[in-house]
Structures are given as structure tokens and as C-alpha cells.
Assembly symmetry: C2
Homo-oligomer: 252 residues x 2
């Protein structure tokens, strides 16, 4: 029997085995999922990708995936492909928290990588928020889970924070930096959630393709005085990320 | 002078005019924006599309758009193109409202078109929410602004609502139908906001391209008793749509 083209397997499938091919493939994928091979996004390769890798037809791949779905190990998402079940990141919005804190609260191994930190003249739309200040600290941080990028945060912060070291900004959540330097944490935030397609810069940074869907959170935080504490865009890889909240009726 | 290829202009640009080409183009685009030509998405054609239409270089198109941006008539959105300014739909989540009501609250001319209405055996993941009921009403409605689709809502509702007529379901917001038939409106909802790429069905229905980014709201509403009132996915065209809310710190 010839080895399938493009095989990346350590052990080839057995075509003489009593176990059917699709069951062997299901077992192999399950082992890889358990070994964390598809973390943190949880996305499995496409059906055609799996078929090519194992040298089998798409029908066989579907049978394997159907088996994993029926066992609850894999979920299919409309228009998005197949995913390792049960690792959805649910970022709660009912309580104000730093993005980094929200990831850690999920029990995820969350880290940050500081990409940029510089004093800037605030762009017009940001300047009005921080008025009368004309300058601020711009910080760009990559949020990672298990070492893989899940979101990019572009933040404008009060100028006073510019004396923090590179290491401090890389490690401390924004609200912790603000509390340390300003003497109080933000009291509230206006939040907007939107979607856009990734441009080349975002695609490269987040390791996705240009044009992929991104979930975006725009957050402007305020101190109790009403002074602006931060203005941040978070560009989030959406595969298994969702923002959640409870909403109640109230007199308006 | 020859007419530019692919021109759809009623009046061609004047290349002998004292007014520069880019200013003429800016004026033309502004007139069209004011006439509502780019509503409801507000998206202007691409730079290359505008260039081709007017038979001018991309540099000239950029000058025209820069002029409109500096005048506040157009906004550029990273990775999304140029948009008519100031018609962002801001869907507030702080208070629970029907999707349709939220659009009307923005002062938009919002309508619904009923695409499907049928009694169904509830899918497994929905059935547990409506337990012990095994059947429910499935309703698919297109939400339009100025006659153009902005969102598709796929709703599961209590079986008791199946006696409403096609017309009633097409016209009444979900929470109004629920209040009429169940004797009370939902008291709270769990909401998740996510992003995904449009598959062929969603792309066709929403008049976008397969693979385009979609903003998705998944909502499960409950009556005060805790019984499930609706389970709905809203697939939203994201160009100018954002979900907004305020978040405050609280002891957790």
C-alpha cells in the first residue's frame, strides 16, 4: 500500500485493519484534540484538508466527524467549520473588568505581549475624550491564550502612565496600571461590540487571513469624576469567543 | 474628449473646468449621499470602483475622499472602506427590547419581512430550554431599514404562538407577540454577541457576499417564572451596526 500524499502522520492508517478507516481517523483526531494540538482556537482542519492528509474521500472524513459530533467531542458551527467542543471563551460584560482579567477568570492560561508603548499626540477623535490633555500613552498589547494570539488591544491611556516600564505594561492589566498611577480604578465604561474584516496588519498580528471576520470591542472607561481613563479597541479572533451579558426590562 | 469607460454619470465631469477633478468628484458623491443613494449600509464604492466610474486615477479619488473626510461627510473604517458619516445604528443592550423596537428607537424606517413560520420539533439544544415541550414555533424574519436587509432573525418561540396569522407575525415585534399570547412579556434575557463569516444562505438573504463578516446576537429570553420565552439568533450586517452598553464595577 502506498503512503498517502502530504501525510504528516507518525503512524499511517491501516487499510487492512478490522476497524474502518473513518473510525481510525476519528480516534486519531480525538487523540490530537486531547493532546491540545488544535488549541487555542479549537478549530479542526477543513474536511478537504483532513481528507488530503489521510488520503481518504470527503465521505469518509464526514463519517469520522459525525462520529466525533455524536460523541460530543466536536461541534460544527454554521459557516465556520468543526471545533473541539466545550472551550468557548465567554467574556462577561455585566461587570467591568480588564480584558486580561476576563480571560484569566475563564481559567485560561492568559498572557500579554507588549508590541508598542509610546507617548503620542492624541488623534482628534480621542483627544476630545481626554481633553484638555493633548498627549497620551499609546499601548499595543497582544493577548494570548496558551501562547497563541486571541486578541490585539490598541489603548490610549492618560499621559501620566508613561513612566511605567516595558515590563510593567506587559504584565499588568490596564485597570491595575490605572489604579496604581491614578489612585483609583475606572468606575464605568461605555462599550460597543461590532464586527469587521481583518486588514493585513490585524491578520498578520493575529495569525489569521486578511478578510477574516473579527469581533471588535471598543471601550471607553471613566473615573468617578467623569475623566477619561482609557480608550481601547480590542480586535478579537472570533472562532470561539463571545461576549455575554444579561439584560432586563426596566422603565425607560 | 472621450467619455470614460463604464461611466454611469448623467453629466460627465468637465476636464476643462476651473474646478479640479477631485473637487467635482467630491461634490458629485456628496450629492448622491444626500439623495440617499448609499443607504442603508452607507458604504461608498471602493476607491478603484470610483476611479473606474469617473475615469480618473486612484490618487484623484483619494483626494476627493480626503476632502469629504475632512468635511466630516465621510468616515473611513479600518479594513472596511469609506462610509457616509453619522448613520451608525447603535443597538442598546442595557434595556431589553425587541430587535425591531431597537431599530425604530434609532429613528430608522424599520420593517420586517416574514420568510418562514412553521411548527417544528425543537432541535436538541433548543428543546432543553423549552422543556418539557418538544414542539415550538419557528419563525424566520428579515429586518429591513429603508427596505434594505440589515439582519435576519431565526427564532424559536413557544408552541402556543402558532395560531398567530402570517400578517401578525410579520408586523409585531417578538416581545409583543409573546405578551399578547402568554399574558406577560419576557423579564430578562441572556445575550451573547459573536462574529462569524456568512455562509451562502445568509449571504443570499442579507444581500452580501459569502465569507463576509457577520455580527451575531444570540438571545434567550425568560419569563419571570423562569420559563423560556424565545431562543433567537440575529445575523446582522455589520457595516454600521454596533451593540452598545454601559458596564460598571461591582463587587463580584
Amino acid at each position: 500500500m502506498s503512503k498517502p500524499a502530504n501525510s504528516v502522520l507518525h503512524t499511517p492508517l491501516s487499510r487492512e485493519n478490522a476497524t474502518s478507516l473513518y473510525e481510525q481517523i476519528a480516534t486519531r483526531l480525538l487523540e490530537e484534540m486531547e493532546a491540545g494540538l488544535y488549541e487555542p482556537t479549537g478549530r479542526l482542519p477543513s474536511e478537504s484538508g483532513i481528507g488530503e492528509r489521510f488520503g481518504v474521500s470527503r465521505v469518509t472524513v464526514r463519517l469520522a466527524l459525525d462520529k466525533l459530533v455524536s460523541e460530543g467531542a466536536v461541534v460544527r458551527k454554521q459557516g465556520k467549520g468543526s471545533y473541539v467542543a466545550g472551550r468557548q471563551v465567554r467574556h462577561g460584560l455585566d461587570t467591568l473588568r480588564s480584558f486580561h482579567e476576563s480571560l484569566k477568570l475563564q481559567g485560561l492560561k492568559a498572557t500579554m505581549r507588549l508590541l508598542e508603548k509610546k507617548v503620542v499626540t492624541l488623534p482628534d477623535d480621542v483627544r476630545q475624550r481626554f481633553a484638555p490633555a493633548a498627549k497620551g500613552l499609546f499601548v499595543q498589547r497582544l493577548h494570548l491564550v496558551d501562547g497563541e494570539p486571541v486578541a490585539l488591544g490598541d489603548s490610549y491611556l492618560p499621559h501620566k502612565l508613561h513612566t511605567f516600564s516595558w515590563n510593567e505594561v506587559e504584565r499588568q492589566p490596564a485597570y491595575s496600571l490605572l489604579a496604581d498611577r491614578m489612585g483609583e480604578a475606572p468606575a464605568r465604561a461605555d462599550i460597543a461590540i461590532l464586527a469587521q474584516r481583518a486588514d493585513q496588519r490585524l491578520a498578520d498580528t493575529l495569525k489569521i487571513s486578511e478578510g477574516d471576520a473579527l469581533l471588535v470591542m471598543r471601550r471607553t472607561s471613566y473615573f468617578t469624576s467623569g475623566a477619561c481613563a482609557d480608550h481601547t479597541h480590542f480586535y478579537v479572533r472570533p472562532e470561539r469567543y463571545e461576549f455575554v451579558m444579561s439584560s432586563t426590562f426596566r422603565a425607560s
